[in-house]
């Protein structure tokens, strides 16, 4: 079959422009697939390796205070491989060069370097010297953020006293790949750092000699995590345990898991779209090719080539295009994947870099490309080879035209001939026109999908940080304080208003579902933290019930009016049934709120407060910071402005990258579809258009007919694309809905405008290219050919 193969190759070369457009679209699909999934694979591998090498724990638990002698009993629990007791405390930090206070988490480590759970990777410097006071290892993110060098020091407010911490080493830990403090959504490496300090010194500072307040465990392979956690809770209950948690509830671990999940989505959604477009284009091009080669097919059949042989001949061309697209996409995707993995590795500061080409991913990409290409064109090829040779050799009957809808209307006399020709042509092949239109609409939709998140983010910031949270600072106390402490805060410089907070760790039970929840008790008449529903209306705090964020209600499958069993995880650990009064809207976290006084009643305590909301005069912030750094019972300060900024920075950065890729992809698709439609239209109509030129139509007039058709399709695609874009965005919002945060569906006008603009430009450029060819139409040659 060598001669037939040569025909295939030469025919492909003849339509190389269109074939290349399809290869580009297909390689975009394969590229995103390979890039995302290879990165996913590598990220997983890197994380797993990191966790394993540095013994990241499986179970975590906090207590108020327990003797070290308890640790062996924990280790002896069935299912436990190893247990590591330690001291973990949050303190206020005074960092040179920064006005506002930062929060430092101090974690105890053995005086000499031995393998421990959640082990440290020393990036720079050395281990602490137990004989020298105040030596610490600091997390790399914090160190980089403040450009700390070996020997630099930071002041910590420990138990009311300022203590100097000297940095002797920079470390990484699998426990703090991402450093997020408290209920924040995003890391703030400037204002939250992790420090590791010798056990003895830390114990002495916090009166914890011979004791621990934190313990982590690793499990034996066959262990039942849940069972171990229950036993651990039992054992630690007398020591003020707040309930054990596992990796799934670990902030850093979950952050990365969410990221991995999103990579997976991207690795599946984008390629699906691209493949669909590529297959559509292949179908159009091949249908056209086979139709043009009608007589050649007939001759081949006349000479005894079977349908199968002829069909395979055309499918070979399809396969060749698919393979080129797959190979190009795989190569590009692999390189991009490597870069992306690098970026992630740097961002997460993995001490291990494991980029691995995943053979199954590459194989799948190739297989799917081939399958999609063949499946999409099979029908067209079959139709062509089925045609009886005698019929195929007869010239195609003139295309069936009917008076179009325009002709039948009263407008027909008003419009120029060109317009009528355009409308008739579109009506003649409505399905083909619809598919081209759909392709262009898809490009618009993709652009909207890639850009709308900015609008949503702006809405979140507006809602969460301006409408709902009116405070400037949130202050946390080392130990619960009385109302007087809160009142005293109002005397600090710049403080306009202070409202108390009582936060309590609990576990909610509803039906068979259970969840750790932080309950926040606030003043019902408070002005600094307002709970809003989806319509941005204030939801009043009930006297005795709970307000839940709608995400939490969804996770527990509970509705307003129903009773939730609240198990308090501290103090006397009472268990009570509390009604859910209403739901509020929150875009981050899964929180529950109560009237502060109701919470006191629930906890069977007096006026114990764990923190306060402050509103502050803008120009006295620095003064206040200085004062807060000196206030002994304050353990941490969360600054809203900083949260907003870090939110914007992190998210905006990601979005910028995503938007760039989306614009690129959408342009490829738009150009691919428009260019192909244009070229095929040109080929089909050359004869007619040449005839018009001979009659006396100008170049401009025949351009109008050909490009007019494309213009109509593009314009018709706009409303369809806008609707599709909205639907895609809605779909994406569902996909981005995680426990940590969710995004509302908000699309701004400029987003729609941008999408339309890009596609119009792409269409115009393609149109111009085709116009070039039209201008150089060889009239005589075209008229001589039979088709």
């Amino acid at each position: 079959m060598r001669a037939l193969n040569r025909k295939a190759i030469r025919d492909l070369w003849h339509i190389r422009g269109q074939a290349f457009a399809i290869v580009l679209v297909m390689s975009s699909g394969v590229g995103t697939f390979v890039m995302s999934l290879n990165t996913l694979h590598s990220l997983r591998l890197s994380r797993e390796t990191y966790y394993e090498r540095y013994r990241f724990a499986d179970i975590f638990s906090r207590v108020k205070r327990a003797p070290l002698s308890l640790a062996p009993r924990v280790a002896a629990l069935p299912g436990v491989a190893r247990a590591q007791p330690r001291i973990v405390v949050d303190v206020t930090l005074d960092v040179p060069g920064m006005a506002e206070p930062a929060i430092g988490r101090l974690i105890s480590i053995p005086p000499y370097r031995v393998p421990i759970l959640n082990d440290l990777h020393l990036r720079r410097g050395r281990w602490i010297d137990p004989h020298r006071p105040g030596e610490v290892l600091v997390s790399e993110a914090f160190a980089t953020s403040h450009q700390l060098r070996m020997g630099d020091s930071v002041s910590a407010v420990i138990n009311g006293r300022r203590q100097r911490l000297t940095v002797v080493g920079v470390a990484l830990s699998p426990e703090y790949i991402i450093q997020i403090h408290g209920a924040n959504l995003l890391p703030d490496d400037r204002r939250f750092g992790v420090f590791w300090m010798g056990y003895d010194q830390l114990a002495a500072a916090f009166d914890m000699d011979g004791a621990f307040n934190d313990i982590t465990l690793t499990l034996v392979p066959s262990a039942n995590g849940r069972a171990v956690m229950d036993r651990l809770d039992e054992l630690l209950k007398p020591y003020g345990s707040r309930g054990a948690s596992d990796r799934e509830e670990h902030v850093s671990h979950r952050y990365i898991s969410d990221e991995i999940r999103q990579l997976r989505s991207m690795g599946l959604i984008a390629p699906t779209i691209f493949f669909s477009v590529a297959v559509f284009l292949l179908n159009v091009v091949l249908t056209r090719l086979v139709s043009v080669q009608r007589e050649q097919v007939a001759a081949l059949k006349a000479f005894g080539y079977t349908r199968l042989q002829i069909g395979l001949h055309y499918l070979k061309m399809v396969v060749l295009i698919a393979v080129c697209g797959a190979v190009l996409g795989t190569v590009t995707g692999s390189f991009l994947g490597r870069s992306l993995t690098h970026i992630y590795t740097r961002f997460y500061r993995f001490p291990v870099f494991g980029f691995e080409w995943s053979a199954p991913v590459m194989a799948t990409a190739l297989a799917v490309s081939l399958l999609a290409a063949v499946a999409g064109t099979l029908a067209a090829v079959r139709r062509a080879v089925r045609l009886p040779p005698a019929e195929a050799m007869r010239p195609e009957p003139p295309a069936v035209y009917r008076p179009s809808v325009l002709d039948r209307s009263r407008l027909s006399g008003l419009l120029p001939q060109a317009a009528r020709m355009i409308v008739r042509e579109l009506e003649r092949k409505p399905i083909k026109a619809a598919m081209s239109c759909l392709g262009i609409a898809l490009a618009i939709a993709i652009l909207i999908l890639g850009s709308f998140t900015l609008d949503s983010i702006n809405h979140i910031i507006d809602f969460q940080f301006h409408l709902s949270q009116r405070q400037d600072l949130i202050v946390s106390f080392v130990e619960p304080q009385t109302g007087r402490a809160v009142h005293e805060l109002t005397h600090l410089p710049g403080v306009v208003r202070a409202e108390p907070i009582r936060s309590a760790p609990t576990r909610f039970h509803f039906g068979h579902r259970t969840r750790r929840v932080g309950v926040l008790g606030i003043r019902p008449d408070g002005r600094l933290y307002r709970l809003l529903n989806a319509n941005q209306k204030l939801v009043p705090l009930p006297r005795d019930g709970l307000l839940l964020s709608s995400k939490l209600a969804e996770l527990l499958d509970v509705r307003p009016g129903e009773l939730v069993t609240v198990e308090v995880l501290e103090g006397e650990q009472p268990v009570r049934q509390v009604p859910v009064a209403a739901l509020i809207t929150e875009y981050g976290g899964t929180n529950a709120y109560m009237d502060e006084r109701a919470l006191h009643r629930l906890l069977r305590e007096g006026n114990h407060l764990t923190g306060a909301f402050l509103s502050v005069e803008a120009d006295r912030m620095d003064e206040l910071y200085r004062a807060l750094k000196k206030t002994p019972h304050v353990s941490g300060v969360t600054i809203k402005e900083a949260s907003v900024r870090s939110f914007r920075d992190t998210i905006a950065d990601n979005l910028g990258k995503i938007r760039f890729f989306n614009v690129m992809f959408a342009t490829v698709i738009a150009c691919g579809v428009v260019y192909n439609s244009a070229r095929i239209s040109l080929a089909e109509r050359s004869r007619d258009l040449a005839t018009l030129r001979v009659i006396g139509f100008t170049r401009a007039e025949i351009s109008a007919i050909l490009l007019g058709e494309l213009a109509v399709l593009t314009l018709a695609a706009i409303p369809v694309g806008l609707v599709m874009g909205y639907l895609f965005a809605a779909w994406a919002v569902l996909g981005l809905d995680t426990e940590v945060y969710r995004i509302p569906l908000i699309i701004g006008r400029s987003t729609y405008g941008f999408a339309v603009a890009v596609v119009l430009v792409a269409a115009a450029v393609s149109g111009l290219i085709v116009r070039q060819r039209l201008d150089h139409l060889d009239l005589i040659a075209v008229l001589k050919t039979r088709e």
Binding site: M1, R2, A3, L4, R6, K7, R10, D11, H14, E295, Q296, A298, A299, L300, K301, A302, F303, G304, Y305, T306, R307, Q309, P388, P389, A390, E391, M393, R394, P397, P398, V400, R786
Partner: protein, 245 residues
């Protein structure tokens, strides 16, 4: 009405036998009755011309004989095979093994050279000639590596003839082979066909509307409006070079 077909070559066996062949086909929205009850025999090695004006059903008849098309009703057999009972696969095999076609518009593959166009056929034939041999037979060995776009109409048609005979078919069917050519080139093409019929003894049927060409045939079958009007035998066959139109 036909004369006794065995009169001229009583010893030659009947290769094709058509009885009561009707063909109706649909073009766009129109029905065309191409053949109405045609009876015809073709004998081994003879040179037959099917003559008639356009629309008389000549091409349709040829296509049916060659297994490119199936009649709406009637029977056609080749030797002892009943073609009308064949399915598509069997017809394809039949064409591959026994029939060579030459079409009015050459139907060469434009993206292949002359030699490759012939090779296309020899690659699936059981006992083919070398493509170069076939091209030599039609006098175009020196144009082997040219593409159809680089060849004149007559040359293209001769390539088509080379392609048709390269597989040593039992039957050569030519549909208006000179229809698109000028007189001189037409004669050259007819000479090639004549040579093949003579030297390879291939049963040959040529369709034309040009009655002069009928002079080089053994028999001329006249068709009009889908029916055989009469069959004439030529006492003396003219050579192609003697034809003038």
């Amino acid at each position: 009405m036909e004369e006794n077909p065995s009169a001229r070559f009583p010893e030659r066996e009947i290769v094709f036998r058509a009885r009561g062949v009707n063909k109706v086909y649909h073009v766009g929205e129109v029905d065309v009755h191409a053949l109405r009850g045609v009876d015809l025999d073709l004998r081994a090695g003879e040179f037959l011309v099917l003559l008639g004006p356009s629309g008389s059903g000549k091409s349709t008849l040829l296509n049916i004989l060659g297994g490119l098309d199936v009649p709406t009703s009637g029977k056609v057999s080749y030797l002892d095979h009943e073609l009308t009972a064949f399915d598509d696969a069997a017809l394809t095999r039949f064409r591959r093994e026994h029939v060579g076609f030459v079409f009015q518009f050459y139907n060469l593959i434009p993206s292949l050279t002359a030699r490759e166009n012939v090779a296309l056929i020899t690659e699936i034939a059981r006992d083919p000639m070398d493509p170069r041999e076939a091209l030599r037979l039609v006098g175009l060995a020196d144009r082997m590596d040219h593409f159809p776009s680089q060849l004149s109409g007559g040359e293209q048609q001769r390539i088509a003839i080379a392609r048709a005979i390269a597989k040593r078919p039992d039957v050569l069917l030519c549909d208006e082979p000179t229809g698109a050519l000028d007189v001189h080139t037409g004669v050259v093409v007819l000479e090639a066909i004549e040579r093949i019929n003579r030297e390879l003894r291939t049963t040959t049927a040529v369709i034309t509307h040009n009655s002069v060409i009928g002079n080089m045939a053994d028999r001329v079958v006249h068709l009009s409006d889908g029916r055989v009007t009469h069959v004439a035998e030529n006492g003396r066959k003219a050579t192609a070079s003697e034809l003038i139109w």
